[in-house]
Symmetry: C2
Subunit: 249 residues, 2 copies
DNA sequence: GGCACTTATCGTCATGTTGACAATAATGCT
DNA sequence: AGCATTATTGTCAACATGACGATAAGTGCC
């Protein structure tokens, strides 16, 4: 690692700045069986050995935050190319959130279709999906981070086309609606949802094909409209207008 | 400073984690003369000496992020108790944003009524308000952070009662409208805005008194409704429902 | 005081959006 | 064929929004 060139620049009167270990944590959310799930690992080392925690780890020299988040998630799930949408959630700390000392963590949010995680019987940390509604106590301040992440996910569905990040490339309106219902924890009228989803400009695009084999009438397949798709450079900043507001009691 | 107890906990196989200098930057926004303004300082030291930059500085040991942001802002403006609403914006880096090496910065957003900054002729860094529309080149990646902050402010006005953070405790509908117009950069119909602002449940509360002395008919004074006011513990998470959407061309 | 000017506030109307729910369409199952 | 199941289209009333007319209540000027 570099011993940094700070002191060459800093006037004598300025002490060298404090340095902190920086971690990235990822709240990976998906929808399974109509329920919102979160990816958690079982800690194999102290502190909080045996407790569940968000996947994550230290940022390495020369890494950016998103890079580090992707790397950690890949390492701990054994998944090469992460599906879904990853964005920064917010930073926590550094004071008093780790018994070992001050650690700053930058939490991230992944909205993804259900994907299988490596269930290696190895000594690696075991990652698995857990229904958000039944998550037991978590290590560190991860319960708070999870709360914030779920709240963010809820509001993302209102104002952005990112509900589709939970689905694959092509999906039916009913599948998309199931996402909204799971994340918001409410029931939505299929007819009104259909009207809204298909009627919002810049949101969906009909593929032209239909599903087959299920019970009931086949459904038309949709994908994200081009304007709503993430581009190579930046993640999608596309906005749903008008928004698809969740019912408030 | 503490030399941290990491190594006592980490198994031999794990190297000590990388440590990074962490700064907080603050994008302080206000409305002056109907224009959105941002607080900038003129750098007195390298790198970027003489350039404008966001106020900010290193996080100290034992500090939390918001604390550090408040401290830095107070130091650089000479203002004791900051008015307005402060929240975290997001983190940037650590790679390649500071010529001295990797520095992680956690940007913050302050929405505040216009307040005077210390215009000391001292050798301290000179802080002053600048219209956002005319901000010249900024140091580091601060232009990007400012962009993100303005975008965040715009959307905050849509979905939260935080437009009022730009006003004092009591304000008229016209003053509030001026905030929306300045932040969004649009003109709003006074009659429709009045209807919307006063008609949105949980947003405003009539004080009972009127303004006097201005030109034109006196206006009723309003303040934030109790549900929309920040409480001691947490900052306001209150939401405007229905939202007050900005016009999309 | 009377008048012009200014800003605040209330109303009206056509249009668009939403929630509730009826009706119809297109499958699989028996 | 008839039934169960899911998808999709419609209808209708309540509500929200944009455009804009009309009125209210001050200040400043003569």
């Amino acid at each position: 690692m570099t011993i940094s060139a700070y002191d060459e620049y800093m006037p004598e009167s300025h002490p060298a700045p404090e340095r902190f270990p920086v971690t990235v944590d990822v709240v990976a959310l998906t929808v399974r069986d109509g329920e919102l799930n979160v990816l958690l690992i079982t800690r194999l080392i102290e502190p909080f050995r045996g407790k569940l925690a968000l996947p994550g780890g230290f940022v390495l020299a020369g890494e950016d935050l998103l890079e580090a988040a992707v790397r950690e998630l890949a390492e701990e799930t054994g998944v090469e190319h992460l599906p879904g949408h990853l964005e920064q959630l917010g930073s926590y700390g550094p004071k008093g959130r780790d018994p070992r000392g001050d650690v700053l963590t930058v939490a991230h949010l992944l909205l993804a279709p259900d994907f299988p995680v490596l269930s290696a019987g190895s000594d690696a940390e075991q990652a698995a999906w857990y229904p958000v509604a039944e998550v037991p106590e978590l290590a560190f301040d991860h319960a708070r981070i999870l709360d914030d992440a779920v709240e963010r996910a809820k509001s993302k569905l209102e104002y952005s086309p990112l509900g589709a990040a939970f689905c694959g490339d092509e999906f039916t309106i009913a599948q998309l609606r199931a996402v909204y219902e799971a994340v918001w924890g409410t029931r939505l009228d299929p007819r009104n949802f259909h009207r809204k989803a298909t009627g919002t400009p810049g949101f969906l695009e009909e593929v032209g094909r239909m599903t087959a084999g299920d019970a009931g009438r086949p459904a038309a397949l949709f994908r994200l409209a081009p304007e709503a798709r993430p581009t190579a450079g930046h993640p999608t900043r596309a906005v749903l207008n008008p928004p698809l507001m969740r019912p408030r009691e």
